[in-house]
């Protein structure tokens, strides 16, 4: 067996480039197909589109998904888990009722659908209460019809109010649009949701906040901090590659995630993130937005200290990487 130190990486090794190549090279072999989380969300990006999404550090993923693990009594009780799932799911008036406006009478008619009320587990009174809280005093309920009167409002405000009423949240947690109870491999139930809202869900006493997970890395950074986001990034990148059966060493994913998070916020790979903040003017100019960088450099009288790879290639000097890092002075003659 080789000793530990013999396994160490060589000093000067261009690990950044190796990581970039190791993640980028299999990109051509990745599929563009979307993934289907049965019952929760369709067309969840996987493969290349998802990898690009991660690397771009988008504000929100195209399809946020959460896995909510539960505390013991809920985790092994399907009925209780389902109950919780239903309670979490965000239900709006729109989902349980048909909303229309009557401009002649200057009123809004909300027709509740009993079947939908039942599936969503919402009572008509609750809807009434929530609508009233938004629309004010001119609200009446008669069986399954809620009427909102707005005698003095203009047509435009009626339309605006209607749209507002449609989005009124009756129950559940904002942004969680769908929930599904899934039985995990360990036999325990957990809730998978479409839409993500970490901050609210970790407050729920039945949720195991130590294991809760979302694929929204930015949200993890906001709620749990940058270290957690870094780990989530590593995990998400690795998972995307694993799903395509592409074998990539975690070290590369880790370096990428560390580079993206080293300043305490998630920075994208590209001109608005890491590459745009490089030290060298020439390096930035050679990447994208050439003229802009040159002009700015001139007004600010910037110095390019030629410390990066690109800058030295441009001026035709040895690159400060690998063997190019070794400096030796020799007396001639």
């Amino acid at each position: 067996m080789t000793s530990k130190s013999k396994k160490n990486i060589e000093v000067g090794e261009a690990v950044g480039i190796v990581a970039a190549q190791s993640i980028g090279e299999p990109g051509t072999q990745m599929t563009m197909r979307t993934f289907h989380y049965a019952g929760v969300a369709e067309q969840v990006p996987t493969g290349l589109p998802r990898l690009i999404e991660l690397v771009d550090a988008r504000k929100e993923p195209k399809k946020p998904i959460m896995d909510i693990f539960l505390k013991e009594e809920y985790a092994s009780n399907e009925a209780k888990a389902k109950e919780l799932a239903k309670a979490i799911e965000c239900t709006t008036v729109d989902k349980v009722a048909y909303v229309e406006e009557d401009f002649d009478e200057k009123k809004i008619i909300i027709t509740l659908e009993p079947s939908e009320l039942e599936t969503e587990g919402v009572k008509a009174e609750e809807v009434f209460r929530k609508v009233k809280a938004v629309a004010g005093s001119h609200v009446e309920q008669k069986d399954n019809i809620i009427t909102v009167k707005a005698p003095n409002a203009s047509l435009r405000t009626i339309r605006r109010l209607t749209n507002k009423l449609r989005q009124v949240q009756i129950k559940g947690i904002n942004k969680i649009s769908r929930t599904l109870v899934v039985k995990g491999k360990d036999g325990k139930y957990f809730i998978r949701t479409a839409g993500s809202n970490l901050a609210e869900l970790i407050k729920n006493p039945h949720v195991d906040a130590s294991r809760i997970y979302t694929n929204d890395v930015q949200e993890i950074a906001r709620v749990f901090g940058i270290e957690a986001a870094r780990n989530a990034l590593v995990r998400e990148i690795k998972q995307v590659l694993d799903m395509q059966n592409l074998n990539v060493d975690v070290r590369h994913c880790m370096l990428l995630a560390d580079a993206m998070t080293m300043d305490g916020e998630i920075k994208s790979i590209g001109r608005h993130g890491l590459s745009g903040e490089k030290a060298g003017v020439l390096a930035r100019a050679a990447f994208e937005e050439t003229v802009k960088h040159l002009i700015n450099a001139a007004t600010k009288a910037e110095d390019d200290k030629l410390i990066g790879v690109t800058e030295n290639i441009i001026v035709g000097q040895t690159v400060p990487v690998g063997t190019g890092l070794v400096k030796l002075k020799m007396k001639l003659g």
């Binding site: 190549q21 690397v55 060298g280 001139a298 007004t299 009288a301 790879v309 035709g316």
Partner: protein
């Protein structure tokens, strides 16, 4: 290479008009280029003081010729100043941040000091927020006018047009101290320099004119633009001198501004691009720098080289993996510089004296003079020849070269090979090294670079040699490994039943270059296992389950467990995993790259002989299932059809069970997809059973040599469901894919299920459906390559400066620490055992599909 001078830093700044005039070697006075004798006009745009591009002429400044004169700047005196369009935004910022009357920054002293204290600051944003609500200057209390910029270059003060002269005077009046507050270094970038009074003219070497075959001269786009500027500038001057009305002067002034704007950037928004006579937009300064074909990416980040060759590649399994077969023609054309010492002087002399192939092309004397070796020059060269000379001789066996195939997606796309000169006109490559290059031999071409100095040669040999790259840094597994037929060969060779006579055994061992014959282990016969064990190092110990499991009971199949004990293959027939990865990787880790290369070379040579003797072929028979299975398959298909029909009926009755979160229609689709995929799986079992383990096609698929079970199913049984966007086919006509089906027919055949196999053939509708799926994957591949290419470019650009420091931390070029220890443990993915030495426990909850 001895580096005696290095560029330490590059300062960016603006040119002042005085500087431009000082730098200029020619003031341009004539808006023209050449006279009727096609001689550069004095004071014209091709003035000889700005350099020469015509052979035979001499530069008036440096006396150099077309080859030696680097070119010199000229300048144009603009009669009226114009705004530099690229700085318009900066000018706007400065105007907005300063007072039009007292020319001081619109913030209090304290605020300015506070601003200077901030470490990370976007001065522009800070200033904007600070001056926004202010209506009067804090210093002189005058009202602040509203400054507007109408792109690209028109400024307005309280909706009154501002002339560049006015702007220039304003900018010039701002004190140095105030400019520093705004983040501008007045020593290098006085804002009034952003309003041009003198325009710098690049040397003619930058904008050479070309002579067409007809003898006509065609000027560079930049020259055209400069002529325009000169012409209007002169007209403006004439009009001013003649005392023309203000309106006409301003019109011409505006025109100069337009030409200057397009001279800098012909893609400026809100103005029409200047066009060539042919209607093509001119390529001006900004366009020259920008983008993939611009100066930065095309000429500065990527450079052209000499001493390179390119031709088609073809396979040669008989050369070593670290060799490359070079055509004689190429070897004769390329040269290697050899430094003459007392040890090699005799060889060098031989090269000089030779008329034939390994010949010296040039000799470089210690004084740096390069002399071509010709029969007549020989004597003169040899007269003073000795140590210190450099001989450039033709490429020979054993020389070190770099070999590359594009696209170079990772570092192993370019590796160091040893030259082997061979007849023929193609580069010869051992097929084992195809995977890192991602090469095949359907017409691929590759590039070869001959290394030109000792330092590079040493680096290439130590860092880039093929056998050092056997393990890929991407995943820590072998990437240079014997595949396909070698794997098949290894399997047949090491099967329990394989035996050889003494002469056969001798032949095989000889192929691997082994001269020692072991004692026979099967009476007077030699088992394949015994002979293969001769290739293995003594300390090798492996125990893996074979990919090929013929039965559930391991006792029934002695080949199913691969055991190597102290370098002897005890049991098991090798397959891809054990041969390509386990054995090879272990040899690499314990014995090193050279030994690993030896193992690949010798084992492939031996296996090549084995597979040639044994033979391996597939025929139609290998993909034919027996009658009974065919009957079962038909039944299976009927069952599937019936099941789908039943589901459709349920759907129509609305009795179909809805899956959570799906509409009824979606539930049906999901159901049908389940049914069809189940049918394909069933067909797979049927095919596997019917074809059996004696079928070469199945063997190759199972041992990981070539092909897959899916291939066999598609050829022998059926193609199955075709899909576009992971859904059954729907597009085409209204409610159907083709007119051959009923409208809104949801059945299997109508929605792209193919019952036929490649062997039976496809019906016309099936064929069409198959090509629908095929088209999608074609389109996807095209999009994917573009998208992943850009992603990789971004990744490389963001991470390229990250390097392992002395303490194994990873730092970027500024020295900022990215990782305290590379990968958390400092291990190299190439050297560490990837399976047992993962750097960090990555917790993974059960994620089910």
């Amino acid at each position: 290479m001895i580096v005696t001078k290095m560029i330490d830093r590059i300062k960016f700044s603006l040119f002042s008009p005085e500087m431009i005039r000082k730098m200029s070697s020619a003031k341009i006075t004539v808006p023209d280029t050449y006279n009727d004798d096609s001689y550069p006009i004095d004071g014209g745009l091709m003035d000889l003081r700005m350099g020469v591009i015509d052979p035979g002429l001499k530069c008036k400044v440096c006396g150099g010729t077309i080859r030696s004169c680097p070119g010199h700047y000229g300048h144009i005196e603009l009669v009226r100043p114009v705004i530099h369009p690229e700085f318009a935004k900066t000018i706007l910022f400065i105007l907005k941040s300063t007072c039009h009357s007292c020319k001081r920054v619109l913030i209090h002293q304290e605020e300015a000091e506070e601003l200077a204290q901030k470490i990370e600051r976007d001065i522009e944003d800070e200033m904007k927020s600070k001056t926004k609500k202010r209506s009067h200057c804090p210093h002189c209390k005058t009202k602040i006018p509203e400054i507007k910029l109408l792109r690209p270059t028109s400024f307005f003060k309280d909706n009154q047009s501002m002339l560049p002269t006015e702007i220039r005077d304003w900018l010039a009046a701002i004190s140095d101290r105030d400019l520093r507050v705004l983040g501008i270094d007045p020593q290098y970038a006085r804002p009034e320099w952003m309003v041009l009074t003198a325009l710098i003219v690049p040397s003619v070497s930058v904008r050479p004119s070309i002579t067409l075959e007809t003898g006509d001269r065609s000027e560079d786009d930049l020259t055209h633009k400069l002529v325009d500027i000169m012409r209007i500038n002169q007209r403006l001057e004439a009009n001013i001198n003649a005392g023309a009305p203000q309106l006409i002067i301003e019109d011409l002034w505006e025109l100069v501004q337009y030409h200057v704007t397009t001279y800098f950037n012909n893609e400026t928004s809100n103005i029409p691009p200047a066009r060539h006579r042919s209607g093509r937009p001119l390529k001006t300064l900004s366009q020259r720098l920008k983008g993939k074909e611009g100066r930065f990416r095309y000429n500065l980040s990527g450079k052209r080289v000499n001493f390179s060759a390119r031709t088609v590649i073809s396979p040669d399994p008989n050369i070593s993996i670290s060799e490359v077969g070079v055509p004689q023609q190429v070897a004769e054309e390329m040269t290697v510089p050899i430094r003459v010492t007392s040890w090699n002087i005799e060889d060098c002399k031989k090269f000089i004296l030779s008329d034939n192939y390994p010949r010296a092309e040039y000799v470089i004397r210690p004084d740096g003079k390069r002399i071509r070796v010709t029969p007549s020059a020989r004597e003169e060269i040899l007269a003073t020849f000795g140590a210190g000379y450099v001989v450039e001789r033709q490429l020979m066996d054993g020389d070190i070269v770099l070999f590359n195939r594009q696209p170079s997606l990772h570092r192993i796309s370019i590796m160091c090979h040893t030259v082997k000169v061979l007849p023929g006109k193609t580069f010869r490559l051992n097929p084992v090294v195809c995977p890192p290059y991602n090469a095949d031999f359907d017409g691929d071409e590759m590039n070869l670079h001959v290394i030109q100095n000792e330092e590079a040669r040493v680096e290439a040999e130590i860092l880039m040699k093929v056998h050092h790259q056997i393990i890929s840094p991407r995943h820590g597994h072998a990437i240079i490994k014997p595949q396909e037929d070698y794997v098949s060969g290894a399997y047949f060779f090491t099967k329990q039943t394989t035996e050889f006579t003494k002469s056969e055994a001798c032949q095989l061992l000889a192929m691997a270059g082994i001269s020692r014959l072991p004692k026979p282990d099967r009476g007077d016969k030699y088992s394949g296992k015994l002979i293969f064990s001769m290739l293995l190092p003594k300390e090798l110990n492996i125990k893996v389950k074979s990919k090929m499991q013929k039965s559930k009971d391991p006792a029934e199949d002695p080949d199913s467990l691969i055991v190597i004990k102290n370098g002897i293959l005890v049991s098991g027939a090798l397959e891809s995993r054990s041969y390509e990865n386990e054995i090879l990787e272990q040899i690499f880790h314990t014995r090193g790259p050279d030994e690993a290369r030896r193992f690949i070379d010798t084992s492939t040579h031996m296996l090549l002989e084995v597979i040639s003797q044994h033979g391996l072929s597939v025929s139609l028979k290998n993909y034919s299932i027996d009658l009974e299975s065919a009957k079962k398959l038909a039944e299976l298909q009927d069952d599937m059809k019936r099941e789908i029909e039943a589901a459709i009926v349920q759907y129509k009755n609305k009795t179909l069970e809805r899956s959570p979160g799906l509409s009824l229609r979606e539930s049906l689709e999901e159901r049908i997809m389940q049914i069809t995929s189940r049918a394909r799986e069933a067909a797979g079992v049927l095919v596997e059973k019917s074809l059996g383990f004696d079928n070469t096609a199945i063997i190759m698929a199972k041992i990981g040599a070539r092909g897959s079970l899916l291939n066999a199913i598609q050829m022998a049984a059926m193609l199955g469901q075709q899909a576009v966007r992971s859904k059954r086919l729907t597009r085409g006509y209204r409610g159907r894919t083709l007119i051959h089906f009923k409208k809104n027919d949801l059945g299997a055949a109508s929605r792209g299920f193919i019952f036929g196999s490649f062997k039976t053939g496809l019906s016309p509708t099936e064929f069409f459906h198959h090509s629908m799926g095929g088209r999608e994957s074609l389109v996807n591949t095209a999009i994917r390559t573009a998208r992943s290419g850009y992603m990789q470019r971004r990744l490389i650009n963001a991470l390229q400066d990250m390097v392992v420091a002395q303490d194994l931390s990873v730092r970027d070029s500024r020295g900022v620490i990215v990782q305290f220890k590379y990968g958390g443990d400092g291990y190299d993915p190439i050297k560490a055992n990837v399976k047992t030495e993962a750097p960090e426990e990555i917790r993974r909850e059960e994620h089910e599909a």
